[in-house]
Amino acid sequence: MTALKLSPSALKQTQWYEYVVRFVLGGAATVLAGLIGKAFGVSVGGLFLALPAIFCASATLIERHERQAKEKAGLHGQRRGQTAAALDAAGAGLGSLGLVAFAVVFHLTVAASAVGAFASALTAWAAVSISAWWLRRKLRSVFDRRQRGWRSAGNSGFRP
């Protein structure tokens, strides 16, 4: 199992214009959410608070970095790049459970205190996202171990 790591040196892989692209996309998505809310009403505007605004930029970036790393080593990196982007998407899928928790907690608490609502909603987002990720990892390692066990039992001629 890979341990959680925070590696600031990974930032060296990112070019300055890639930061600019993400800033512009993030800003544009926030402006778009505001414009849509004004034009179509608060209910439609609310949908766009969970818009996968910079996901295309992030996934493309991850794919390119992985592909380049493989190609530097003289290998064909296209499949590796796709797998890395798919892993990122799988993580976003789990994170979206946290986003549901964020919205529910914010909705329930904002009338009492705006600052408290932001703090509790962010805590809910982090708790649910990390728990979902941890649970998936645990289930996956149990499943992998069981599969390895069955395979080795099959190789030794054991039949239940």
Binding site: T2, L4, K5, L6, S7, A10, Y19, R22, F23, V24, L25, G26, G27, A29, T30, V31, A33, G37, G41, V42, S43, V44, G45, G46, L47, F48, L49, A50, P52, F55, C56, S58, A59, T60, E63, Q82, A84, A85, A86, L87, D88, A89, G91, A92, G93, L94, G95, S96, G98, L99, V100, F102, A103, F106, H107, V110, A114, F118, W125, W133
Partner: protein, 115 residues
Amino acid sequence: MTEYVIRFVAGGVIVSAFAILSDMLRPKSFAGLFGAAPSVALATLGIAVAQHGAAYAAAESFTMVYGAVALACYSVAVCQLLMRYRMAALPATVVASTVWLAVALGLLAGLGGAA
């Protein structure tokens, strides 16, 4: 106009902060959690509370739940397009946007917004 400049800068800064954190984190599946960070929501809801009050922000966060469910479907679609259909990341994420839009609008049409 000033409101939209504030929206643009606040959204850009928060999205970039989550993206930088995600770049530094390993493994990739954990870093991916930040792809669903509430970055646009933090900026927009903050402005909504300041400009229109708590009731407006509560109504906005109600339908945000549908958007988040749509994001989960979008992520599954992106995974399938990348792994099963071997598409590149950019076309896969663009094509999957139709899934996000269909699920989000479908849930809103079926279940309705905040009362």
